[in-house]
Structure formats: structure tokens, C-alpha cells
């Protein structure tokens, strides 16, 4: 497997006195897809949000341990600079309603005050929308509002918005749970293509989805990382009984 781009070392996370993530260590090889699975409330979304330090938006939290991005401890970096290097896509599509499709893709640059020439903008927009498999559908109406698109298209627009910043890592928090099966299939196939250039870390409730597209699967339960390994191994010979029961649909 490829060398690791991101490693989590003994991560602990508390909200007030609730211990949400318990001594979690996990590494992510470059240009692979990792699926984080587990029943609701197991801490998987919280863990994902620690990676780009979005957890800092919640008050009264405490974090211990290290997360290293290419060897650098992310808690020592500037949070805003870190988030420019790590893209994030949310559960519900959330394009900016006041912006056109074109400006939504460029939002990362606009919101960081980075000025670009017309040519650079056009190039970034076309590249990101092509990567997000949306270019052909929207190229005729780039200056329409992004909120006119269908749910699946909006989510691909959000992926394009994240990709436009050319991140090394893309975090996805149940990106297809609000979409219909067709839109889901579309996003899955685009994620498979993305992993040539980006490391994808995805929280999902969809067991079949994890087995279809991920290289590595991690299973969390009650804040702990129970087991992780290649997706093939996890789905065929899980070591822990809880993993087996969850992945075969006995609980969750």
C-alpha cells in the first residue's frame, strides 16, 4: 500500500465531560479511500471533524493526542491554513445560495481573498467541475445559481468546491445519505476516480457503499476503534465479533 499521508495517534476527544473519541489511532495511506463505519453516536463524525479541526467550532471541548498530516502535527498549524489543505463535504448539499455555480466552485479562493486572473478562474472551474463529474451538465449555465441544481448535482458541486482548492485529503461526512440511489451511484463512481489524486476519508452508514468503493475500512463503536484493515479482509474475515455483527447487518 502507499505511504501514509495522515496518521492519528492516540486521539481522545471530550465534549464537556463526555468522552466521545477514546484513544484512537489510525493511519491513512495516500490516494486511497477509507470508510469509517459504526452505529450512530459512535464518534465517527467527531473524529472526522478533528482532522480539519472543525471540532473547534463547538464550545467546551478538549482534545488530546496527535494528528499528523505529512508528518506535521495539525494542532500546531494555523487552523485556516489547514482547512485549505483538507477539503470537506457535508451530509446535506450546501452550495452557497447567493453565489452562481461558477463562484461556488471558486468560493475557497473568494473567501480567502486570493485574487485570480479570469483565465485561471476559468481553468480552475472547468477542472474542478470535470473532476466532480458535473462539467457536462452545467457548462452551459455556469452563471446560474447553484441552488437550482438537483440534490445530487448540488452535492457534486460541493465536491467541486472542495476540489478547487486542490486539497491532498477530502473528508466526506455521509455524503450520499440525503441522495437517491442514482445520484449516490454517480458520486460513488466519481470518488473511485478521485482517489488517483486525493486521499478520501468517508464516514458512511451505508455498508454496501463501503464495500463497493473503499480500500480500507475502520469500524468504530462507542468511541473506540474496534478494528480496521483492508476492506476485503474486514468484510470477509473480521476479527472482532462486533465488526462481524455490524457489517452483516445484525445491529447498527
Amino acid at each position: 500500500m502507499n505511504p501514509d499521508i495522515l496518521t492519528i495517534e492516540h486521539l481522545n476527544f471530550w465534549i464537556a465531560d463526555q468522552h466521545i473519541v477514546k484513544d484512537l489511532s489510525l493511519s491513512f495511506p495516500e490516494n486511497t479511500i477509507t470508510a469509517i463505519m459504526g452505529p450512530s453516536g459512535c464518534g465517527k463524525t467527531t473524529m472526522l471533524r478533528c482532522i480539519n479541526r472543525m471540532h473547534e467550532l463547538i464550545e467546551n471541548t478538549r482534545v488530546e493526542g496527535k494528528i499528523k498530516l505529512s508528518g506535521e502535527n495539525i494542532f500546531k498549524l494555523n487552523a485556516m491554513a489547514l482547512r485549505r489543505r483538507i477539503g470537506m463535504v457535508f451530509q446535506r448539499p450546501n452550495p452557497f445560495p447567493t453565489m452562481s455555480i461558477y463562484n461556488n466552485v471558486l468560493a475557497g479562493y473568494i473567501l480567502n481573498g486570493i485574487s485570480l486572473s479570469r483565465k485561471e478562474k476559468d481553468q480552475i472551474v472547468q477542472e474542478a467541475l470535470t473532476q466532480a463529474a458535473l462539467w457536462d451538465e452545467v457548462k452551459e449555465g455556469l452563471h446560474r445559481k447553484g441552488t437550482f441544481l438537483s440534490g445530487g448535482q448540488q452535492q457534486r458541486l460541493c465536491i467541486a468546491r472542495a476540489l478547487a482548492m486542490k486539497p491532498k485529503i477530502l473528508l466526506l461526512d455521509e455524503p450520499t445519505s440525503a441522495l437517491d440511489p442514482k445520484a449516490t451511484a454517480h458520486i460513488e463512481s466519481l470518488l473511485m476516480e478521485l482517489k488517483d489524486t486525493v486521499t478520501v476519508i468517508m464516514v458512511t452508514h451505508n455498508i454496501a457503499q463501503a464495500s463497493r468503493i473503499s480500500n480500507q475500512t475502520a469500524f468504530m463503536y462507542l468511541g473506540e476503534l474496534i478494528e480496521h484493515g483492508t476492506t476485503e479482509r474486514m468484510f470477509t474475515v473480521p476479527k472482532d465479533k462486533r465488526t462481524e455483527e455490524y457489517l452483516s447487518g445484525k445491529f447498527g
Binding site: 472543525m54 467550532l57 485549505r84 470537506m88 457535508f90 450546501n94 480567502n112
Partner: protein
């Protein structure tokens, strides 16, 4: 027996429905009466001369209320310049900080400001500005009106921004955007319609106020656009002319009331039209 009971219940139901409609209709009556009365007495006074000319000295016929219209517009601009930025930023703060002692204090302060009688606000502006400066001024009137606009703008900004899904803010922050750009470039523009509604309601509220202007803008019979000097305003003019013994002045008070009513009603209808669903 059973059907009789059912019929009785049906009767009570109908009576209740009727009562609700009746009271709603009663609410409409005074409004209709006011509008009718003012239009009947005021509409025929309106003319190009009335809108543009300055008041003539007593005893001469003709003239208009151009100075009061200009003064009211000046006061609206002054108060908006003060109240809009403060109101929007306070609204942003309150929408972002729902817990905590400071935001609670601000909430209470906004409620109290809203409940303060307008005459008291006028006196406050007199003590703060007119006395130290030594003279009445449009500026002091603008400050008094701004204080009256603030709660309206703050509350509508707060309510509007609270309804914007948190995930939009997260999306912007996750792109590495600083907090101030997230608020200024994403959240406030997304809530623009709601904020504008609040601003227009605030303007509608203060443009008919006379009490805060009695000790501040004071009124004068000339055209003035200097914010350091006294300025006439439509509500002040109505107050002065309506209490005068001269018939043509009273007619002008009707005309000015009519003008003010049309202005405020249009603003209110406009806010209804742009209010986000």
C-alpha cells in the same frame, strides 16, 4: 338525543369561527376609517407646489411642505447611517451567541430600548447632544430616530440569521475562510432580504415619529440640509399645523398626513413583498 348533542356542538363550532372572523374584521375597521378620513381630507391638498414649495408667511396663500419632506428624508438618511451598521452587527452577534451572560444582557437591553417611550428617547438625545452642542440640530434628531430604529433592525437581523442553516457557515469555514469573511460574504448576503425587511420596517417606524424630534430636530420653516442646523420634518409640521387656528394650515396638516401615510403604507407593503418565505 345524540344528534341533538352533535348539532349543539356544531353550533358552538360555527359561533367560534364567526367570532374569530368578526374580531379580525373589527381590527380592519379603524385602519380603513383612518385611511379613508385622511385620503378624503388630504388627497386634494397634494399638488406639485405642495410637494416642492416652501411654506409661505402667515396670511399669504400657497406654498408647500418641501422643507419638511427634505427634512424627513435627511433624518431618515442620518438615522439609517447610524442604526444600520450597529443594528446589523448587534444582530449578527446575537444570532451567533445564543448562550452566555453578555448576549443575555444585550437581549434585555434591546427589549428595553424597544419599550422606551419615544419622548424619553427625544429627551435623552437632547441631554446628550443638544445641550453640549448648545443648539438643536438635524444630527441630534437622527440619533434619536436611530435609537428607535435599532431594536427593529437588531431583531429582524437576529431572527433572519438564526434561520440560516449552520451547515452554510461550516462549509465556508471548512474552506479555510476566516470568520469575518464567512459572516460578511456568505451569511449576511444569504440573509439580505430579511435584513432589508428589518431596515425598511425600522424606517417606516421612525418616519412618523414626532416626539423624539421635538427637542432635537426642532423644526424650521426653511429648507435646510445641514445636519448641524434645525430641520423640519413631516410629523413635526403636522403637529404644529394641526394645532394652529388657521384653516389653510390645517389643510396642509391633512395633506402632510396623507403624504406620510402613503409613504409608510408603501414601505410596509414593500417589506411584505420582499420578506423571505
Amino acid at each position: 338525543m345524540r344528534t341533538g348533542h352533535e348539532t349543539w356542538r356544531q353550533c358552538k363550532n360555527n359561533a367560534f369561527h364567526g367570532l374569530i372572523i368578526l374580531f379580525s374584521a373589527i381590527l380592519f375597521l379603524p385602519l380603513a376609517a383612518i385611511i379613508f378620513h385622511i385620503l378624503k381630507n388630504g388627497l386634494h391638498v397634494l399638488s406639485w407646489e405642495f410637494l416642492t414649495a416652501l411654506p409661505k408667511p402667515m396670511g399669504e396663500s400657497g406654498g408647500g411642505v418641501g422643507n419638511a419632506i427634505a427634512g424627513t428624508l435627511l433624518l431618515i438618511v442620518l438615522s439609517s447611517l447610524i442604526a444600520i451598521p450597529i443594528g446589523i452587527f448587534t444582530g449578527v452577534y446575537l444570532s451567533e451567541n445564543t448562550h452566555g451572560k453578555f448576549s443575555h444582557i444585550i437581549h434585555v437591553a434591546v427589549d428595553m430600548l424597544q419599550g422606551t417611550p419615544s419622548i424619553v428617547i427625544g429627551i435623552a438625545a437632547y441631554i446628550w447632544i443638544v445641550k453640549p452642542m448648545g443648539h438643536f440640530s438635524a444630527f441630534s434628531g437622527g440619533v434619536a430616530l436611530a435609537l428607535m430604529m435599532l431594536p427593529v433592525i437588531i431583531k429582524s437581523t437576529e431572527e433572519t440569521l438564526k434561520r440560516i442553516p449552520n451547515t452554510l457557515k461550516e462549509a465556508a469555514l471548512a474552506l479555510g475562510a476566516p470568520y469575518y469573511r464567512t459572516m460578511l460574504q456568505i451569511i449576511i448576503p444569504t440573509g439580505f432580504q430579511g435584513i432589508l425587511t428589518g431596515v425598511l420596517l425600522g424606517i417606516a417606524r421612525v418616519s412618523g415619529e414626532s416626539a423624539p424630534l421635538l427637542f432635537t430636530a426642532f423644526g424650521n420653516p426653511f429648507l435646510n440640509l445641514n445636519m448641524n442646523k434645525t430641520v423640519q420634518a413631516l410629523p413635526l409640521l403636522i403637529f404644529n399645523y394641526a394645532t394652529s387656528p388657521y384653516e389653510d394650515w390645517q389643510a396642509y396638516a391633512w395633506g402632510s398626513s396623507c403624504l406620510l401615510l402613503i409613504f409608510i403604507l408603501s414601505l410596509t407593503l414593500l417589506t411584505k413583498a420582499i420578506r423571505p418565505q
